[in-house]
């Protein structure tokens, strides 16, 4: 399959795939803090944790206020990750 005008191999310097790219360049966009993001991904999917009525808050059953709380959790964790990973970058 020919891959179009932009893919003419003679116009390109072909690099070996999977070669160590970038040499000594710091992989600044990879941060260990990113693993924190798994928390707001996993917790809202663990339905047995929050499929209950009590305790209520302002009349909301636990099922509802807890999941609205996860929204705030998600924002908090993402904001934290952005700051921590950003600090590493500088």
């Amino acid at each position: 399959m020919q891959d179009g005008p932009a893919g003419k191999p003679d116009k390109l310097v072909l690099r070996p795939r999977h070669a160590a790219q970038g040499g000594s360049r710091r992989r600044s966009h990879r941060s260990g803090w990113h693993w924190l993001l798994l928390l707001p991904i996993a917790v809202p999917l663990a339905t047995p944790l929050f499929n209950r009525i009590e305790p209520r808050l302002f009349g909301f059953p636990f099922f509802y206020w807890c999941q609205l709380g996860f929204v705030v959790l998600g924002m908090g964790v993402t904001a934290t990750v952005r700051r921590l990973a950003g600090r590493e970058r500088r």
Binding site: D3, G4, L12, L14, P40, G59, F63, L68, G86
Partner: protein, 574 residues
Amino acid sequence: MPRLADHHVELTVFIGLFALATLLGLAAARWRRPATFNHIDEWGLGGRSFGPCVTWLLLGGGLYTAYTLVAVPALVSGVGAAGFFAVPFAVVAYPLGYVALTRLWSVAHVHRLATPADFVRVRFGSRWLALLVAVVGIVATMPYLALQLVGIEAVLKTLGVGGHWPLVVAFTALALSTYYSGLRGPALVAFLKGTLLLMVIVAVVLLAAMTPGSWAGIFGKAADTFAATPSLADGLLLNPASHVSYLTLALGSALGLFLYPHAVTGVLAARSRDAVARSLTSLPVFTLVLGLLSLAGFLVLSSGITPVGADAAAGVPGDRNTVIPRLFDASMPGWCAGAAYAAIGVGALVPAAIMSIGAANLFTRNIYREFLRPHATPAEQAQVSRTVSLAVKLGALAAILFLDPQFSIDLQLIGGVVILQTLPAVGVGLYTAWLHRYALIAGLAAGVITGLVMLYQIPALGPDGTVTRAHFGGSTWPLANLGVHSGQSVYVGLIAVAVNLAVAAATTPMFRGMGIADGVDRTRDQDYGAEVGDPSIHRLAELVDGAPTDPRDAANDLFPARATQRLLESPKKE
């Protein structure tokens, strides 16, 4: 049936705000006016100039569509807890998308990519794979766009406005502003949408506070209603058999959300990587709005609102999507209800415009420019995009006017499953280029076929458990089909994408073993972390040796990094 004569105030406010939105959309052409509009980056990506605030509003306005805001509360009022899956879906989507979308923005910045298929093109070096991703994107977007009209129609029905001409007028307004202003149109209208949504939420919270017993009373009434129905699927909590469908729907929809071309368009229009990161951090604010509005579904139950056209005695369910507009109608003062309707009407304009632009960009970049006119200038591309965006909207309008809206709803269901099948190429591709281009094509095909077959097998059940429709009746596939009689069902999209990934992973070594070459990956590791103004990465060629040699080629070049790359790899000239 609602009568127009009772709704003069609402109608006036609604029309006024709708007209304001249209004017804003047209005026947006002058907002941050670029030197030329005849460039696909200017028309289709707003000049890639939006800061965190505008990106936040644009993405929020585009992702939380009018249909979502009408259909989710309607679903909650119908089945209770199971309909609330939209909230964990939206919670999970942002942390899932955070790393992927910042990477996507960076690589798109370095290589001047405008669509998800553009990315697949540079990453896997296959224009056929890119074509498939583009076609899937367009196919999934069209019915979603049509559903925005269903949102407007729900409002018009509640107002007692009959006939099809108001929809035609609304869509003409949309088409004109998109044609002239491009992505700047919805970006500016998103400010109005945000303001109106805020007002709706305040109104809903006040309404709840004025209801006897406040929220406790509302939930109590809802519990009684669900207890009185024969169905076991509804209730204030998930029943044991619906946990799996709840979490797979949330996870599967979240994985698919940012694969939609309109979501990617919003991300790529951002000015910087940090603008994307900041907007993703604050987008869950819209999820709170969606969550509270979903709970208004319970308010519907406790106020005894019935859908337009419902006749309990005859067993006619009516149009469920009208329950939220009906609630506004019954319990708010006229001006306030009118503004709330406008939140839905204007709320439909923003996503509809972004969707048509996203689909048009896909066509222009990955079909027209790739296969029909390889040397199309950016000005020609912009013109093609404009025309295609018009055609896309006309198609959506025709689908609503001439076909049963249920057809669009079914297609959107299929679209959600199908768009998820681009996850291995676009999503996984952002992290690794290990998968072979032809393996990805095989996986995509396997995923789409699996998804379609499974959706075909799902019947629609009435409240009493009888089959009302034999096929395409839902998006969760009963595990009973596999002989597992736990009563659980799984979101089809998730199963299909698992098949897709398995096929792609299994056939990758096979293709390599057969000696079929991989495509050339033009991206480098550091491209995925690039930030605006990062001189080490972007446009190094221009920094080192001035302007590009052939201006026509440079303006056309999908891959300006190619020149950069050549420089990096040739011995440095100091």
